[in-house]
Symmetry: C2
Subunit: 458 residues, 2 copies
């Protein structure tokens, strides 16, 4: 390992400059205005991966391109590892909370700040650098390596999902490593054995045909904002449970073995010092990480209606909108859950209001992997060697909806891993990634490839 | 009258061009960026009123200038009429719903469309034209006339309120006509005997110190949008009453005499065809106009928090905001009501959330005038002559917070009148004013001045 790290230190300036170039693409997959930026970013990746010696294709979809790269010289006796990353990023608003512009990457105190720094360009790029270094050192790789760099993870990977079946042969692999999650603390590595599933909905309520004066019409018309708050407030019980009938029907208890393997320890004070509040969400009486990992949620992600500027405007808005998402656990069917939520909302629309509920793409099931799988074992060992510290097994409350489908299509055992920390502000202003963790990530990937290369395929 | 209308028809093109000039000033009092536009608009008014022969002052305040014009040649034996209008307008958003830009006045099918067309520049300008025509015809006026053109009505007139006491002598009048309300239907005139009072608040809730990922933190952190919807949904009972203890304590029943004088008739189907919904707001079982006139309300005028764009963003926002206003009826003290609302909200802040409640300027009491007052009688007669139809007495659900204070300071009997209709979209996109009603308004004002001129002062 020492040699590769020396190479990294020698090439560090070049590598960071290239990372900055990658981060400068405003590759926001959810915003139509960034369609060309998505194209440019995927073209840049294609060229970069070709230059390091991989075979590269850009797969078209009804959404943005997906970059697929492979290096298959190890041959059929050696295992095949499929890496999953994504080059698309979340929207940047509220823009005024960013200390430096989201697409002008800036290094401060050992971190690079930019939209996508940790989610997921930073993680994508240390994997690419690991492959590049191994190819430079050995001229080849000890395993067959495939890499999918998605252009739609932040919008539910519907583009990749629709072409998945047609790419079954190209994607076939023994192991799938999804490099889109993180570790526990800067010095405590972890492998993630599962994610929650996801559904996302937009609820729009409409009252009068146009905005009205709240003096002349207050008391006359049913205010869409009253309807919306009433409907949304009904979604949870006072104890913090989701109040929709049937919502918890398929939620399975954790087995005692699963419970033993997972690290549920939670530092409440660290949470408060990092995020400014105690973890008061979810169901009262349930330990924090059980609420985040093994129980489903329903969260309101946005409400918009009426006047929100400075000063005041005495308006009754014609319509108002809420964004709603649910995180799901194993056995919960996303489509059934979506129907339950829709049915509940539709049954509670007040008089004088019409409600429209729209599903967004990116519906996905929850996912779980066994800690005894080979890829989990290899990842654990790599982490322990790089960190000099035992690797923990955790779950992720977030979702990567494409992962269960990708694992199935590619017939691979999946693991989720990565180098991010909760304070990296993924999806929030001032997203960042630590340069030290970038280096450690690079080391972990090279070590996993080495470890898998010493085992024969079965 | 015939002569003046002939003069109007002759001068119509010039008058409408000048009205368009007035409407082109983006005089949005609530937005700091329009401070210079407010100044320019008040300067234009000053010059215009001087040119027609009035003595004009621009009164400075901590807010925007107030234009004060007078013509006092009738002498102490003749009554003094004080007219109240305003040149400031509401904000224009949502801008995308306007068919033509709000500050590029456009005439379509006999209406002028622009922000401020009816509220209140159109009404202000027909009053100015009435004075101008009488001065052109007679060289003087048969009464003493004063005119206050406020620059802060849409932000609660706090600028005028703060200088009111110091202008007591200049404002002194026998009658106050507030030209900021309307008639019942295009052919049914009405005088407004009262308005509701107003308080406006901004509620901001804060949870975590920054926006968080709703996957990793969903179930952990208390979502500020859940807190906000819960708090807001508690403000009304399922029957549509305001749920705040003590809110209705001081609400007095209408006397049977008042009830007889007022026209509570309400055309439900006309409401639906105009506004697209039946009047399902307010307390169930109470007739529509009683809900809009003689009972107080609490309305949510805006909610803003989290992601509201296209697509989806799985975020838990750090904070969220709601705009809340109450309309008050006679005997309800605005300050006491404000305290009740604040106390109720503060008592219901969930764990892990901090709430900040800010009062906006423009707090005002409700107001009522007797139908037997001289100015109401003169206004009724003028309306009946111009429309050839009996004048009705109504109330206004909206508020002009400065009116009760202005009536008191100027020692005058107040009446609210004007020419707008509910479909004029005051405070909403595509605000408009009918050119025919502009002409009728001009006729009504000249007739009131004539009528008051034939009576001696007491």
């Amino acid at each position: 390992m020492q040699t590769l790290i020396e190479v990294y230190e020698h090439d560090k300036e070049r590598i960071l400059n290239e990372l900055m170039t990658f981060l400068r693409f405003p590759s926001v997959s959810s915003e139509e205005k960034h369609r060309d930026d998505m194209l440019a970013c995927s073209a840049w990746l294609e060229e970069y991966l070709q230059a390091i010696g991989m075979h590269v294709e850009r797969w078209k979809s009804s959404q943005h391109p997906i970059v697929f790269a492979s290096h298959l010289e190890a041959g059929p006796d050696k295992p095949t590892l499929l890496l999953y990353n994504h080059y698309d990023v979340q929207p940047v608003d509220p823009l005024d909370l960013w200390k430096t512009p989201p697409f002008e990457p800036t290094i401060r105190e050992g971190n690079v700040y930019a939209r996508g720094a940790s989610d997921n360009k930073g993680q994508c790029f240390y994997a690419i650098q690991a492959i590049k270094m191994l190819l430079q050192r050995d001229g080849t790789l000890p395993i067959n390596l495939k890499m999918v760099i998605d252009g739609g993870e932040e919008v539910g990977s519907s583009g990749l999902a629709e072409i998945l079946a047609s790419k079954k042969e190209q994607l076939r692999a023994d192991y799938l490593a999804v490099l889109d999650v993180g570790i526990l603390k800067p010095d405590i590595p972890a492998v993630t054995l599962g994610t929650r599933g996801l559904i996302t909905l937009t609820l729009e309520v409409q009252g009068p045909s146009s905005d009205l004066h709240s003096g002349s019409h207050g008391g006359l018309v049913n205010n869409p904002l009253h309807a919306l708050t009433t409907m949304l407030a009904m979604l949870h019980t006072p104890e913090g449970k989701v109040a929709i009938p049937g919502f918890y029907d398929d939620v399975a208890d954790l087995s005692s073995q699963e419970r033993q393997q997972l690290d549920f320890s939670f530092d409440t004070e660290a949470y408060r010092s990092e995020f400014g509040v105690l973890p008061y969400g979810g169901e009262k009486g349930v330990p924090p990480l059980e609420r985040a990992w093994i129980y489903p949620t329903l969260e309101i992600n946005g409400i918009m209606g009426g006047y929100g500027g400075s000063g005041f405007k005495t308006v009754i808005p014609a319509k108002a909108t809420a964004k709603i998402s649910c995180r799901l656990v194993p056995q919960q069917d996303p489509h059934r859950t979506e129907l339950l939520v829709k049915k509940f909302l539709e049954a509670n629309v007040p008089e004088g209001i019409t409600a429209t509920i729209t599903s967004h793409p990116g519906i996905g099931k929850a996912m779980r992997t066994s800690p005894s799988s080979k890829i989990v074992q290899a990842a654990s060992q790599a982490y322990e060697e790089v960190f000099g510290s035992p690797c923990h097994y955790i779950l992720e409350g977030g979702s990567i909806p494409i992962v269960p489908e990708l694992a199935q299509t590619s017939s691979s055992e999946a693991v989720l891993m990565g180098m991010t920390l909760p304070g990296d502000n993924a999806h929030a202003p001032n997203e960042r990634f630590s340069l030290n963790r970038f280096k450690q990530g690079l080391a972990v990937i090279t070590r996993i490839i080495d470890l898998l290369g010493t085992t024969s395929k079965f």
